[in-house]
Symmetry: C2
Subunit: 536 residues, 2 copies
């Protein structure tokens, strides 16, 4: 939403939660959890205890590294447990219930390409699965190991490669190591007056390499918001050698090498660095909200804004449920949150034009717009706070035995109204059937395009105590079938991982699957790279 | 430059030249050729005759199609000759000298996917090379066959698949067959008030499929100008089956299937259709020119404009030689041609801001800017006319035994000044050495990005009578080595073809080459698709 989203000042080091989202000290306490649970019928009356690593059965590693690599590799139980899974709802529940995914045998932290290559060589020779790991915020099962075809599992943590190595201020680009976490990346760029301006919701807890490997979507609604568009070149260590593309503003020389590795989720190689396009920090900002009595009017308004030349930085449509949950509106209105930014020129006029477009579809303007530093209107502020707090609240609800998760997609405009309606009704019906209680299924549009939009759904439902992941899997299967029927992608920016794999296999063209499989075999002939993801 | 570029009204059918660029009746006559030749020392005193197909030795086809495919396949000698090569300078010279590339045995014109698949099946079974052919405007040897590993050569002409099949006016997109030529495509979209707004210099003589297969660059300087960015989904017939991606505004589900086929130059499959994003026709336009005494000042000005939020539709910097040649300036100035467009809002203010940026670097404003229909200034008009006439003049010079060709690249801003200087001096020196006469090496920037630019070079030199292609090959080798030393791409939008293959092989990362080779083997196991291109 703005350049400081997700980058609060951190005076003292904080501890990451091994089982839940983000910082350990930011989780809701037992009283908050109980209060939230009381709002959802059919949940527990007191929260599940915060899980402890020493309650898990963590065996000795099945392999030991050779002496030459020993200094890069650790076997600390808490470190291994923290690398066992990502941070999806089902991961949190598995941790709460003492049934995490397979704990990796070892965690490696290489510091350069040579060490990554050496680790891959060793893993290949010994048949050890290698799971690349950045910030660990994956919500689709992309950073764990499932199956038993490998002798051992090595979590390859890239965060020791966390530096901005070179900055080209003339051409506004930087060479950045893949393990750089969002806040550190922005901090290292700040002295140069530049920003990557890529703020996924996971910003604090995800890395450049993770963004590239999963084709992350930034916080901005339009324009350059996907990490794909920022890539000048990439360095990728594969078992078949290191791929280094040239640093170019554009090229028409064959299919793009970078586009093969973007979204490859660790299955084709380990992304170790990239030259990334940067921008000056925005100097002008303006935001406002518009409320709609009718969600379909709001959809038409958003489409008009997306098809205009206005290019809002934020253009987030909350349905009535989402607006109520976040505090943006309590009267059953849908709310459109609009924001504009520029490094060069004032943006108040563009905001006014967008608001006018929205009002032409029956929108009611909120408080006076915030322009260049004036306080944002209440709906905008409420939404901002809720957005950052959301994943923590989800974990609190998980402790109450509730089902609380999100999923997202994208489709062309002609399919959007029917798609949203079908998800709401079919997932709602499935939840009622599975739990005996009505569920909440909310929707917001996170990204808008001239030709379509990305709906993001939040599901809040009672669980079946002890069986929460099964309930969620049932609901997700229903949702995924709706997406498939409406030809809406199984993921717009959460990646495929292992959770989306069956649906991804149905979605991608068969000849492309053949080509990808062949590329995988050529680059990873021993099949050790993130097995089970995409093509393994 | 504007929505009608390259789409003059065509009252009567015209004949395409089989040996040279474009329309047969648009070529300069003998007197014009002689006059142009007189400006270049060391050329012929009278033009080479226009070549005639019946002077070529065209044998009988080495194969005949089965009865089931016979209605799709022809063996007319003129048709075969016209499909033997693209339209590079070296192609034109080969035709003029009676030594064209290998004449294909047959020309097929399928009308749907099924027929394309049947033709590929037949070719695969019989070991016949298949060269996909759209408008035939390739300038890098991409639509011919070299070598002798195949029993016969089939030119697969897609132009019988030339229809816009569906238009989605809500989401502004259309499903378009790959063989649709530029003018026909725009004509079919016009009743819907929409435009693809993709105008490569070859617009009249190139197809959607050709643009996709070669990652074509449009006429516009910034923003969405590469065909890649307009693709919602693609249909590609491969020997291993038909790949049909879903129609999506965006997706994060694995590496993009479309991006593998974009730029695949017919080596992985035959692109038969695509859903393409469209735009409303522009209602507001403004253009102006700015002259610079110093080319390096102009480079800095262009970079400032490219890094602003102004997003010019045209931002073409002509060096002094290029400005002189096109008539945009005769006083040794470099000229920046600026243009703005919008469907929604007036663009005069944005033009004024861009001109101000340019003047801050020492630019001198030309005549009063043209805004919304006022006549363009003389420099802008001169450049527009010269741009469309350029390829015809090149062929006229070829008839005079001169070397007249272009090449293009892209690099980051930090490399641009040194790159341009090195190309000018080293190619100029090589031409003097090869021909004994000084050569002209001009440069313009065709596309600009916040992080770099695409320089486009024109070389005019004396030839060595009868040996013109060898001279050009020598100069191109020198130029390509300069590009490689400066890590500038071997092509920004002309594709790799066969001419750029050695340089492409040095540029692309080795692991990517392995992956592409593996993908090719999986999709085209018999190796019949455009052999020699990219990976064959």
């Amino acid at each position: 939403m703005d350049g400081t989203t997700g980058t609060p000042a951190q005076p003292t080091p904080r501890t990451r939660s091994w089982w839940g989202w983000g910082w350990a000290d930011a989780h809701p306490d037992d009283a908050e959890c109980t209060a939230m649970g009381a709002l959802l019928p059919g949940t527990l009356t007191r929260p599940l205890p915060v899980p402890r690593v020493h309650d898990l059965q963590i065996g000795s590693p099945a392999v030991q590294p050779p002496a030459s690599l020993a200094h890069l590799v650790g076997a600390d139980p808490e470190d291994r447990a923290a690398h066992a899974m990502g941070k999806a709802y089902r991961d949190v529940v598995r941790a709460l219930r003492g049934r995490p995914g397979r704990i990796p045998d070892l965690v490696a932290r290489p510091t350069d390409d040579r060490e990554v290559a050496d680790l891959l060589d060793w893993a290949g020779e010994r048949g050890i699965a290698v799971v690349p790991y950045g910030g660990g915020s994956c919500v689709t099962g992309g950073v764990e190991y499932r199956g038993d075809a490998h002798r051992a599992v090595l979590s390859l943590d890239l965060t020791a490669m966390g530096r901005v190595l070179e900055v080209d201020t003339t051409g506004r680009a930087a060479r950045i190591q893949a393990g750089t976490l969002g806040p550190s990346l922005e901090e290292q760029l700040r002295p140069h007056g530049l920003t990557l301006r890529h703020f996924p919701q996971s910003f604090e807890f995800s890395t450049l390499g993770g963004w590239l490997a999963t084709r992350a979507g930034g916080h901005y609604a339009t324009g350059r918001t996907h990490i794909d568009d920022f890539v000048q070149s990439m360095g990728v260590v594969t078992p078949a050698g290191t791929s280094t593309s040239w640093r170019l503003p554009a090229s028409g020389a064959g299919p793009s090498p970078d586009r093969l590795f973007l979204g490859s989720e660790g299955a084709l190689g380990v992304i170790t660095e990239a030259w990334i396009r940067l921008q000056p920090r925005p100097a002008h900002k303006a935001s406002a909200s518009v409320a709609f009595a009718d969600f379909h009017d709001a959809l038409r308004a958003v489409r008009d804004v997306a098809q205009s030349d206005l290019a809002p930085a934020n253009c987030r449509l909350l349905d009535a449920g989402e607006a109520g949950l976040s505090g943006a509106a309590q009267d059953g209105s849908a709310v459109l949150v609009l924001g504009f930014e520029s490094a060069d020129v004032p943006v108040g006029a563009r905001l006014a034009q967008a608001v006018d477009l929205a009002r032409a579809h029956g929108g009611r303007r909120g408080a006076a717009p915030s322009v260049d530093g004036a306080p944002a209107d209440a709906a905008v502020s409420a939404w901002r706070s809720a957005f950052l707090r959301m994943p923590y609240l989800r974990d609190g609800l998980a402790r109450m035995g509730a089902v609380a998760e999100t999923f997202e997609t994208a489709a062309t405009w002609d399919r959007i109204p029917g798609l949203i309606e079908a998800v709401r009704s079919e997932v709602g019906a499935a939840a009622l059937k599975a739990t005996g209680h009505p569920a909440t299924v909310n929707c917001r549009l996170t990204h808008v395009y001239p030709d379509g939009a990305a709906p993001y759904f939040t599901v809040l439902a009672a669980g079946r105590p002890g069986d929460e992941t099964a309930v969620w899997d049932e609901l997700k299967a229903v949702a995924s079938d709706v997406l498939h029927r409406h030809r809406a992608t199984i993921t717009h920016h959460h990646a495929v991982g292992r959770d989306h794999r069956p649906h991804y296999d149905r979605q991608r063209p068969d000849p492309f699957a053949l080509a990808l499989r062949a590329a995988k075999d050529a680059l990873d002939p021993r099949g050790v790279l993130n097995p089970g993801v995409l093509v393994g």
